[in-house]
């Protein structure tokens, strides 16, 4: 294990690259890029390994099991804060910026009396990870609405478990992303807060990243990966139908569901302001001790 991120060449002369991803909607571009041959064009033979969340992917990237990984930005900021040398190499996905039509929202059952962010005060709200991107953006919205976010009782629950818990009354509201947003809406829950779109209309939610050692040892590879990623993101942004198609190949989403979901935006640029904003929110909630040196995290 841990060969400093060095890559091996395949028989075809391509660099073999393994990327740790979470098999959800958000990573459709990389699958599309693989499908479309954008990585091969850059001399990269891509292997996608799915892990469940940052807990599995970050150590993998750190140890060189993966050359690149996919993670939400707050997790990357926290890792940086704790002294992990993470380098963002490409944008992952962003909010659509449209309140009312984003891929992420806080939902509450219809008729629950929760109608806007301020109503979340004192309520039990499910997020998939405590003290992370979900709760910091929600807290911000509650503060904006004049509420006291510290009174919110956050519970940690996997996204897949939220629809059941919500309709069973175990929780008052839930932060969900697609396809669970559609699912809960189908069950008669209504969005009360579009936490990403409201935090920043251009909020970049997740990124592709690598470790400092890989970035330093193989700058050329990083560059080629970033370039292929860019092409992929652009292709995804232009071809939403392709996104809806490819998603069915690596998740269990069926065609009908895939048609119905709201897709995130896939801008090509790494948005430094988003990182700054997320870091500030995290500092405010105590998830980060201070805003880290964001510049050193960028390519």
């Amino acid at each position: 294990a841990g060969d400093d991120g060095g890559t091996t060449e395949s028989a075809s002369g391509l660099d073999q690259v393994t990327v740790g991803i979470i098999p959800i909607l958000d990573v459709a571009p990389i699958y599309l890029g693989q499908d479309q041959g954008f990585f091969e064009d850059e001399g990269i033979e891509l292997t996608l390994e799915s892990g469940q969340g940052g807990a599995a992917i970050l150590p993998g990237v750190e140890s060189g099991q993966f050359q690149f990984g996919f993670s939400n930005n707050t997790s990357l900021l926290v890792a940086k804060d704790k002294g992990l040398d993470v380098r963002i190499v490409a944008a992952g996905n962003s909010t659509t910026g449209e309140v009312g039509a984003d891929f992420s929202a806080v939902v509450a059952p219809e008729g629950s009396g929760i109608e806007d962010a301020a109503d979340l005060e004192g309520k039990r709200v499910a997020v998939n990870t405590l003290n992370n991107i979900g709760s910091t953006t929600i807290n911000d919205a509650v503060r904006e609405a004049g509420g006291d976010p510290s009174s919110i009782d956050y519970v940690e629950l996997g996204f897949p478990d939220m629809p059941g818990a919500l309709s069973g009354g175990q929780i008052d509201a839930a932060w969900v992303v697609e396809p669970f947003l559609s699912i809960t809406q189908g069950q008669g829950a209504a969005p009360v807060l579009w936490n990403f779109a409201e935090a920043d209309p251009e909020l970049m939610v997740a990124s592709y990243f690598t470790s400092g050692s890989t970035a330093d040892a193989d700058a050329d590879l990083v560059e080629r990966f970033a370039s292929a990623m860019e092409t992929s993101l652009e292709y995804a942004e232009q071809n939403p139908d392709e996104v809806r198609r490819i998603v069915q190949t690596y998740t269990s989403l069926d065609a009908e569901a895939a048609e119905g979901v709201t897709l995130p935006a896939f801008p090509t640029d790494v948005d430094q302001d988003s990182l700054q904003r997320l870091a500030e929110l995290a500092v405010e909630d105590g998830a980060l001790s201070e805003v880290p040196d964001i510049g050193s995290m960028l390519p």
Binding site: E156, D161, A287
Partner: protein, 248 residues
């Protein structure tokens, strides 16, 4: 007795002393963060609630495991009927079971206690069944010949006779309970030892995470010491009988 753990700790200390790996911090650093991490409040706010849930869940498992185990161990028919469904349930991973339990019992303490009990019950149950089945037939005859009633028989023959093997199961269930305490706190928790460890892990506070694992180990040792004392009293006759070997 305490020698080996000290040797292992020393090895750990030396092996990691100059470690620069992010995920393998030096033991020095782990122990260094221990007091501030745990002794300043978390003991009461996280460790105690966890232990409370563990004990309730464990007690529930003991009651369930032993009573079903005695029934299944005593009756071939009952055993034949319930064994396959039980084996089915036993093979379901807790992370899958949790959502169902959330549906049934909410996200509060009840759910976590149920998760713990649902995991602990198996070793106790299986061992009780086998222990009951293995009771000396001559003793069974004696109990039958004196027409000891069902209650007396359960109390004085079946439970006592099976107790060495039940103890084996209960011992095992204790550490499974500890594991499930952590697992249950991965879902819908807001406090607890396991919860805190996972938060550290997610927050990349690696030395703190390790200190949590060390604490978990300490809790395990402590619980097993208590267990040994209780077992020593309940099985005094058994250990006495076995120990009469050489020294009398």
């Amino acid at each position: 007795m305490a020698g080996l753990p000290i040797v292992l700790l020393a090895l750990w200390w030396v092996a990691t002393d100059s470690s620069t790996s992010f995920y393998w911090p030096p033991l020095r650093e782990i122990l260094g963060t221990f007091p501030e991490t745990w002794l300043e409040g978390r003991l009461g706010s996280d460790v105690l609630p966890s232990l409370g849930r563990l004990l309730v869940g464990y007690a529930l498992a003991l009651v369930l495991g032993i009573s079903i185990g005695v029934l299944a161990g005593s009756s071939r028919t009952f055993r034949a009927v319930v064994e396959p469904p039980l084996e089915f349930l036993r093979s379901i991973p807790p992370p899958v079971l949790v959502p169902i339990l959330i549906l049934l019992a909410g996200v509060g303490n009840t759910m976590k206690v149920l998760v713990i009990a649902a995991g602990c019950v198996w070793p106790i149950l299986l061992n009780t069944i086998e222990g009951v089945r293995g009771i000396d037939p001559v003793l069974r005859d004696a109990a039958a010949a004196y027409r000891l009633g069902p209650l007396t028989r359960v109390r004085h023959l079946v439970l006592r006779g099976a107790s060495p093997q039940v103890a084996a199961g209960a011992r095992q269930a204790l550490s499974i309970g500890l594991i499930l305490m952590v697992i249950s706190e991965m879902f819908a928790a807001s406090n607890g030892l396991g919860f805190t460890i996972i938060q550290f892990q997610r927050g990349f506070a690696i030395p703190q995470m390790w200190s949590g694992i060390v604490l978990l180990g300490l809790v395990g040792v402590l619980l097993s010491l208590v267990f040994r004392v209780v077992e020593g009293r309940l099985l005094a006759w058994y250990h006495g009988q076995r120990a009469a070997e050489r020294k009398g």
